[in-house]
């Protein structure tokens, strides 16, 4: 049994324009202590997967089929029970997770007391410990969020996410708003802190560089479907799905120079309202066959492709 | 074109929100009544020759004991048909309401744009004035302006100018909410990159304010405009009720209510009841419509 199991999860939005399938039969597992990356173009369903796990899908969207299990127990019906305590979330904008009117210390202690048995001095000591772990002086517990730089705030958000001692942290583009150098510090910190506690992380990003440096396994999403999953090494060095191959090939590398023309996947990802029949990638796929235009490929041997699922 | 409009999210949301739809229908019906009052009303309530004192105090739907005439909503002390009086009163109330909102809007949008776009001392001066004005109830401000305007006008012009003065007082007392909202939106928009894109091709500030920023503040203006219309109608009624508004020669709903209250305790309830209900329904409908518009444009706030 894995720590987290997502099985055939589908999410739909019903509006006057019809039904929009934001997640289509997504299945994946997360092991204890693992860093799982989720990549894909914007709108592919990365955040939707994270939000579905936490039961945070905006109405009128709802889970129409499938199951999400934490340690074997379904959490679809009552996500409030696990939200914040067993699974925490880190968002792109650190300010959205911090209360501007309360000191960092007050916010940390509040979370610790809410989710762990620690009270009073014990909670305060734990807060100081967390601050030290994120490399911020414990004296600054009395500071307010606005007194910190963007990178420091995101560290504090990590401390806040760790405060409840969760099994899983879902980090949705946690460093997109930060500088490269700060990004490296923040992600290193996240890895370090989580490894120390055996916490698993789902790292949502659209940056292949981040995936390459900070994850163990990667799931690739396209138009609401999980199209390939595997170890980071395999995905980057020997991707099998034609979309993943295109994604890797179009990432600029240090071998390039001004005369390089980057590889370019033809066309654009279709909007969810106009997903083609069969494989969602078929109009852009260089090796598509007739079958691809008719039958939706399922995830077999970690790849959802009619021609690439063997072995 | 019409088909596209009927298919819009606006119409979709409207049809799915019964309160908003009913409010809109009521607003439209009342506005039509006001507009076409001279044709709809059975009598002209200000044509003294058509009024018979003998018809005074006829209850609604009952034949007058002397003349045998019937009035749908009864008649007042003078024998005037109350139904006609309400239609004409609605006309005055709505006219004053619309005109003062347009005045407040023009003033507020202009000042808000200037304050937000120019910043610095222009912003400081405009917003301080707004702050000071906000600390007083707007009806008080309106009465103050009303008093000053009456003081300036020669006595013989007062009656003729009464409606204009009323519009001026209400308009000047309601600009602040427009200015504040427009200023806020302007400050947000002015920092966006598309403004830089227009500046770098040498467009003037005036051009940028009018063609780029203004279209972006229209939605909030529409919301505030609708809600302010309800406020302006109430303000007008209040002023007229206090006797400082619409003159008896051109009675608004507020004037009718003031006249009606004299007879409330002597049993002629209908003289105050029907104008008051009309006013209530009118103001409430605009208010609900405004609330829906706000939710429609800004679903996150609700």
């Amino acid at each position: 049994m894995s720590l987290l199991e997502i099985e055939d999860l589908s999410v739909e939005f019903t509006s006057r324009r019809g039904v929009l399938r934001a997640l289509d039969n997504v299945s994946l597992t997360l092991e204890a202590g693992e860093f799982l990356g989720m990549v894909g173009e914007s709108g592919a369903g990365k955040s939707m997967t994270g939000n579905a796990i936490l039961g945070l899908i905006d109405p009128p969207g709802k889970i129409v089929s499938g199951d999400i299990r934490l340690q074997g127990e379904s959490i679809v019906k009552n996500p409030e029970r696990i939200r914040g305590s067993h699974i925490s979330m880190i968002f792109q904008d650190p300010l959205s997770s911090l209360n501007p009117l309360k000191t960092i210390g007050a916010q940390l202690i509040e979370t610790i007391e809410l989710h762990t048995p620690r009270r009073g001095t014990a909670a305060r000591e734990r807060a100081a410990e967390l601050m030290t772990q994120i490399g911020v002086d414990a004296d600054r517990l009395s500071a307010y969020p606005h007194q910190f730089s963007g990178g420091m705030r995101q560290r504090v958000v990590i401390a806040l996410a760790m405060a409840s001692e969760p099994e899983i942290i879902i980090a949705d583009e946690p460093t997109t708003a930060l500088d490269v150098s700060v990004q490296a510090q923040v992600l290193d910190l996240l890895r370090e802190v989580c490894s120390a506690h055996g916490t698993s992380v789902i790292l949502i990003t659209h940056d292949m560089g981040v995936i390459g440096h900070w994850t163990d396994r990667v799931g690739v999403m396209y138009a609401g479907r999980l199209i390939e999953i595997g170890t980071t090494n395999d995905i980057i060095r020997s991707p099998r799905h034609p979309y993943t191959q295109g994604l890797i090939a179009s990432t600029p590398t240090m071998d390039a120079n001004v005369d390089t023309t980057l590889y370019q996947i033809p066309g654009n990802m279709p909007p969810l309202t106009a997903i083609p029949d069969g494989c969602a990638f078929n109009p852009r796929c260089p090796i598509a066959e007739d079958k691809c235009r008719e039958v939706i490929p399922h995830l077999i041997n970690d790849v959802a492709c009619h021609l690439r699922s063997e072995t | 074109m019409i088909a596209r409009w009927l298919d819009s999210d606006f119409v979709y949301s409207l049809l799915r929100t019964p309160t908003a739809l009913i409010s809109l229908i009521i607003c439209l019906v009342l506005a039509a009544c006001a507009l076409f009052a001279p044709w709809i009303a059975p009598t002209d309530p200000f044509d003294m020759s058509s009024i018979d004192l003998m018809n005074g105090f006829t209850p609604p739907g009952v034949a007058n004991e002397f003349t045998g005439e019937q009035f749908f909503l009864g008649s007042d002390d003078q024998g005037r048909d109350l139904y006609s009086a309400i239609l004409y009163g609605l006309r005055v109330s709505l006219f004053v309401g619309f005109a003062s909102v347009i005045l407040a809007m023009t003033l507020g949008v202009t000042l808000g744009l200037l304050a937000g776009y120019l910043g610095g001392w222009v912003d400081a001066v405009i917003m301080r004035i707004a702050d000071i004005q906000m600390t007083f109830p707007s009806i008080l401000v309106a009465m103050l302006i009303y008093g000053v305007a009456r003081g300036i006008l020669p006595p013989n012009a007062r009656a003729d100018m009464a409606i204009t003065v009323l519009i001026l007082s209400i308009g000047l007392s309601e600009w602040v909410s427009f200015a504040r909202t427009v200023r806020g939106t302007t400050i947000v928009e002015k920092q966006k990159e598309y403004i830089t894109a227009s500046r770098l091709i040498g467009l003037s500030h005036l051009n940028i304010m009018a063609r780029h920023i203004l279209p972006n503040v229209i939605n909030p203006i529409l919301v505030i405009g609708t809600i302010t219309l309800a406020l302006a109608i109430i303000a007008e009624a209040t002023l007229s009720f206090l006797g400082v508004g619409a003159p008896p020669t051109e009675p608004s709903l507020g004037t009718l209510i003031r006249v009606g209250q004299d007879f409330l305790f002597s049993g002629q309830w209908w003289i105050i009841f029907f104008p008051a209900v009309t006013l209530l329904v009118l103001a409430l409908s605009f208010n609900l419509l405004g609330d829906w518009l706000r939710d429609f444009y800004n679903p996150r706030l609700s």
């Binding site: 500088d179 370019q264 | 894109a197 279209p215």
Partner: protein, 259 residues
């Protein structure tokens, strides 16, 4: 003399306050650089290092506190004659904030055409807008749509079409692909490169992604706290960075190594 000359440019922002004498933030300190015609000069540096401030001065929407900028021999300032602005355009970071959401694509692309009186009459304008949209890989009937009907990458194409409409010689690109996904980024970067070789454009390219710099730049400048601390040709900078800060920056960059 080079096509673009930035000479000892400094910029101080004064924070006005009632209670204290004006405190200055020095966003740029004596920055000098030059860009050759037809080349790409990449400016890298962390957030707040002054990249966008320099960009705004170079395109003439902000003034330097001291120093000067000249492009094609014309002095650049906020009060320069409108005619001199034709040669200079800019593409921005945010595909959302750089297009007025209330305007149709046609009007967005045509705004510079009108401002400079480049096309006469509605018909000529429509035709030029169509040409421009096709040049950046969009379609003629996209002109009737509003920006929100497009994806991020398509919006950047609209911005590029707009920037090209005044036939500029020089385009400042301020992080034009930071908000885009890799596969879309590749499309936009290739488009910018194709346009450069086709039209002989000169770019000032601002980014914090070193792999992007590698594929785009001929010359690279590193900005740190308003100071240009290093400037080298692209090959030399990556091969032998001189300044410790540049070395750190190269080390921190999460670049894919497929090999």
């Amino acid at each position: 003399m080079s096509f673009v000359e930035v000479d000892e440019v400094s910029r101080v922002f004064h924070k006005r306050s009632l209670f204290s004498k004006s405190q200055g933030v020095q966003a740029l300190k004596n920055v000098s650089l030059s860009i050759q015609q037809g080349e790409t000069y990449a400016l890298v540096g962390e957030s707040g290092s002054g990249k966008s401030t320099l960009a705004r001065i170079v395109v003439g929407v902000d003034n330097a506190s001291s120093g000067q900028v000249s492009i094609a021999g014309h002095q650049i300032s906020t009060s320069m004659p409108k005619e001199n602005r034709r040669d200079i355009q800019m593409v921005f970071q945010s595909p959302y904030a750089s297009l007025n959401p209330r305007w149709r694509v046609h009007d967005l692309v045509a705004e510079p055409l009108r401002a400079f009186g480049i096309t006469q009459g509605r018909k000529a304008t429509v035709q030029r807008v169509t040409e421009l949209l096709e040049q950046v890989g969009l379609q003629a009937d996209d002109a009737r749509k509003f920006p929100h009907q497009f994806s991020g990458g398509q919006r950047q194409r609209i911005s590029i079409a707009r920037a090209l409409s005044s036939n500029p010689k020089f385009i400042v690109c301020d992080e034009p692909t930071s908000a885009l996904d890799v596969s879309v980024q590749a499309q936009v970067l290739n488009l910018l490169k194709d346009l450069q070789s086709e039209l002989g454009l000169t770019y000032l390219f601002i980014t914090h992604d070193l792999a992007v710099v590698k594929t785009m730049a001929h010359q690279i400048g590193v900005l740190k706290q308003g100071v240009l601390i290093e400037e080298q040709s692209a090959d030399d900078l990556f091969a032998s960075p001189q300044h410790q800060y540049t070395k750190d920056l190269l080390a921190a960059a999460p670049v894919l190594s497929v090999a």
